[in-house]
């Protein structure tokens, strides 16, 4: 395999953004007729590297060579002209144009000027048809792209990407919204393109897919190149280890253990909980006073699980029982009424109301539960806010300061305070420690432990496995949008990694 011709080589690529060094010496080598996986945790620099290759960003340092010639893509269009095409997670076909029009968009065949010089629709149709037929795809080119199922749109998008004789095809998480059958169809297309000599870069979070289709793996961590490995020589454990930056102690850990002797009653139990393309059917229980950690790589379904639980997204199947009674959960307001609380991952977008004061932000959920008619007086709100600000040590110029002026960690604490005010039975914390400094992080972790000791059940989600291990009584490990297993208290990080890697 190593004899295959090198098509694209990127070396020592660096790129900084204000406050972040996204890439610091990343590199990549793609060979003709190979499928190459680009792996790394969230923030490893995968997207930035792709954007450098496709001309979205110019690198601060480093070189890119295509077939031995140095290149500097200036825009995605320029990259395409050079022969580097990309297909992103959501296909970008224009829904109101036909498949043929989409495939030829930007390079429509023209009629000779003697016949008006307009677009040659017949040639457009034929070119699209031939292209799809050549790729073994059976798609009606005259149909509107918007009318195709998502999976066929994805395939058509790949076809469009290679229509301009692409030498390098970048597939950025193309499978994340496809089901198993659709993935198979996509892989068939990928293999066909590979056999035609296209160098393919495949980005995914699904380990099993990497091993199914890829020949080599490049791992990035913190913007740096960790290494390039042949798939055959690096197993899932080694891969996860390379991604997170530590050696794993073999696969000797028990895959699944049920905690024993835990007598506390279940506060919440879910069975068969699922949503198409986001979470495969899954069961779990949370007991009173317990911190259940939710671990898994990015894209493993952690946040999706939390959103289903809090009725932010509709579930396709599954029953949720609270205190043994089947819960009617149709919207977040129902979850609130039933004693659930949810601190979302994206604090700015779905947590704080930046213009409102700390007091109002803290009172919001409790007031929402009380409804419109009974309302907290100003004095009650003040008392509540003062109490929680003191209890959680929220640093603010005062409870009347707009919450947007607080630091990230203090905003996060205020959102937790919002939920504590409702005395939740179950509190879901999705990445509560993201983007806050180390000291604030420690304080938050202590708060979480304290919460649980007060009888509140906590569902703790974090991409930092070490944190999950530290605060959790039990750990639910997710892999590829399904449950990989459960670990009891005392399980160490290696055990979590083993479960994640046990594809």
């Amino acid at each position: 395999m190593s004899t295959a011709a090198i098509v694209l080589q990127a070396r020592d690529i660096s790129r900084a953004f204000p406050g972040v060094q996204a890439l610091a010496g990343a590199g990549l080598t793609l060979r003709a007729g190979e499928v190459h996986a680009l792996m790394g945790q969230n923030g490893a620099g995968k997207s930035t590297l792709i954007k450098v290759l496709t001309g979205v960003y110019a690198p601060d340092a480093g070189s890119i060579e295509l077939l031995g010639q140095p290149i500097a893509p200036k825009s995605p269009l320029h990259a395409q002209q050079l022969g580097i095409s990309a297909v992103h997670q959501e296909s970008h076909l224009l829904p109101n144009l036909s498949v043929a029009e989409n495939i030829c968009a930007g390079r429509y065949p023209r009629l000779p000027w003697t016949r008006g010089g307009g677009i040659d629709w017949r040639a457009t149709h034929k070119r699209a048809k031939d292209l799809l037929a050549g790729l073994g795809l059976d798609i009606d080119v005259d149909q509107l792209a918007g009318g195709l199922p998502a999976a066929l749109q994805q395939l058509a998008a790949v076809a469009r990407a290679v229509a301009g004789d692409a030498r390098v095809l970048i597939l950025d998480e193309p499978t994340s919204s496809l089901d198993a059958g659709e993935v198979r169809a996509l892989f068939e297309l990928i293999r066909r393109l590979r056999d035609q000599g296209v160098a393919i870069l495949f980005v995914t979070h699904f380990l099993d897919q990497v091993y199914e289709i890829c020949d080599r793996i490049t791992v990035l961590r913190n913007g740096r190149l960790v290494g390039e490995y042949a798939c055959a020589k690096l197993d899932a454990h080694g891969l996860v280890g390379a991604m997170v930056g530590r050696e794993l102690a073999g696969a000797t850990q028990p895959a699944t253990q049920t905690p024993t002797g835990d007598a506390a009653p279940a506060v919440l139990s879910a069975s068969n909980l699922s949503r198409r393309g986001q979470l495969k059917p899954l069961d779990f229980t949370i007991r009173a006073g317990e911190t259940l950690g939710l671990a898994g790589l990015l894209g493993s379904g952690r946040t999706e699980l939390a959103r289903l639980l809090f009725a932010l997204d509709a579930r396709d199947s599954g029953d949720i029982e609270i205190d043994g009674k089947k819960a009617q959960l149709a919207q977040p307001a129902d979850a609130l009424r039933l004693g659930l609380g949810f601190c979302p991952e994206d604090r700015k977008h779905s947590g704080i109301v930046a213009d409102l004061s700390v007091r109002e932000n803290i009172a919001l959920a409790l007031q929402a539960r009380m409804g419109l008619r009974k309302f907290l007086t100003l004095a009650q709100q003040r008392e509540l806010a003062e109490k929680l600000v003191a209890a959680l040590g929220i640093k603010t110029p005062g409870i009347e300061a707009p919450i947007g002026q607080l630091s990230g960690g203090n905003q996060q604490k205020a959102i937790i305070a919002r939920w504590l005010a409702t005395h939740p039975r179950v509190l879901i914390l999705d990445e509560p420690t993201r983007g806050i400094d180390v000291a604030a992080k420690q304080e938050l972790m202590n708060e979480i432990r304290e919460l649980a000791s007060g009888g509140t059940a906590v569902l703790f989600i974090s991409s930092e496995i070490e944190e999950v291990v530290r605060v959790s009584d039990r750990i639910l490990v997710l892999r590829d949008r399904a449950k990989a297993g459960e670990l009891p208290r005392g399980a160490d990080e290696d055990a979590v990694y083993s479960l994640i890697a046990s594809a």
């Binding site: 932010l312 109301v353 409102l356 907290l376 919002r418």
Partner: protein, 342 residues
């Protein structure tokens, strides 16, 4: 100074003061206030009085825009409320020269306001339950509402002869126009509702960050319904003031294009049309700016045929003055100059 210019109400207020000064320069009598027959008179009082309906409508519009909606039917709702009130009040001369009303005045006014609130509720239902785009949903009533008003009047202008009805639009209380008291009262009530009640907290939360409000368990549907209903009610109140002021109801012309003036007032007041941060006081100032503009055009003595063009130019100038981007062009240039000199 910088803090002052950063305050949300600074630029609207500065604009208003500038317009008033412009008037005062051309017409020295502009700032005079006289006390006659226990009433306060003067061009400034006139402006406040005439701006009252627009202020009331703009208050309702502010809330709708704050929750990321829009209501372009307020002009038609003004007409409906005016027509209903005029029809039910009516009035006929009795033998002794006394005038009596068709129905008791409170019934007439109450029915008119109820009809207006129902119009608002209808808009709200279309937006919340039918999921229509606010501009499309309220476009329906904008067209149909005026039609309904015309049906009710049979295409005639309804004249009201019952004097107590006139108090709303031209009466005085404690020396100031009653219409102004109504606008001020509504503002005060809204201010309290927004800052002290659950409804107010929810409106501001949804306006500030709809997704965060949803995650916090706030249900947007009932709040949105309330807001649209209130906007209809406010338009109804404006309709009463307008018809009372002219002692008649004209289904064709009452509140004509008021929706655009209201949206303009809200925008001038510093509320973004995309929702989010909003200012009731700003909208009041915006309404005053618009009325002052109109007065300015008349007092500067432009011939009527250029009125619209002059108004457009003034609005254009005011909007430029209020645009942070436009002002930045100058501050950037100024600071560049300062930098060059150093």
């Amino acid at each position: 100074m910088k803090r002052l210019t950063r305050h949300a109400a600074f630029w609207p207020l500065a604009t208003l003061v500038l317009l008033v000064l412009l008037n005062a320069v051309f017409n020295p009598a502009f700032l005079t206030l006289t006390w006659r027959d226990g009433h306060l008179y003067g061009p400034l009082v006139d402006i406040l009085n005439r701006a009252a309906p627009l202020m009331v409508v703009a208050l309702g519009m502010t809330l709708v825009i704050a929750v990321r909606g829009l209501d372009i039917s307020v002009g038609a709702v003004v007409a409906i409320a005016a027509v209903v009130a005029a029809l039910l009040t009516g009035g006929a001369f009795s033998a002794g020269g006394e005038v009596s009303s068709e129905y008791p005045l409170w019934v007439a006014l109450g029915t008119a306001l109820l009809a207006a609130a129902a119009c608002g509720l209808w808009n709200g239902l279309l937006v919340v339950k039918a999921g229509m785009q606010p501009i499309v949903a309220t476009l329906i009533l904008m067209v149909a509402g005026r039609g309904i008003a015309q049906l009710l009047t049979g295409g005639q202008i309804i004249t009201v002869y019952y004097p107590p009805f006139f108090a709303i639009g031209s009466g005085f209380f404690l020396g100031l126009p009653i219409a102004l008291w109504i606008a001020a009262g509504l503002w005060a009530v809204l201010y309290l509702v927004l800052s002290r009640t659950a409804l107010g907290l929810f409106i501001r939360a949804i306006g500030g960050n709809p997704e965060a409000a949803r995650v916090a368990g706030v249900r947007a549907a009932p709040i949105t319904l309330c807001v649209y209903t209130f906007c209809g009610l406010a338009a109804g109140i404006a309709g009463l003031i307008i018809s009372s002021n002219v002692k008649s109801a004209d289904a064709n012309n009452a509140g004509q294009l008021l929706e655009l003036d209201a949206i303009l007032a809200v925008t001038l007041g510093g509320t973004a049309l995309g929702g989010g941060r909003f200012s009731l006081g700003g909208s009041i100032i915006g309404a005053l700016i618009i009325q002052t503009l109109t007065t300015t055009i008349y007092s500067l003595g432009f011939p009527p045929e250029v009125n619209l063009v002059v108004k457009a130019l003034l609005v254009f100038a005011v909007m430029l003055l209020q645009s942070a981007e436009f002002r930045a062009l100058f501050t950037r240039r100024a600071s560049a100059h300062a930098g060059a000199r150093e």
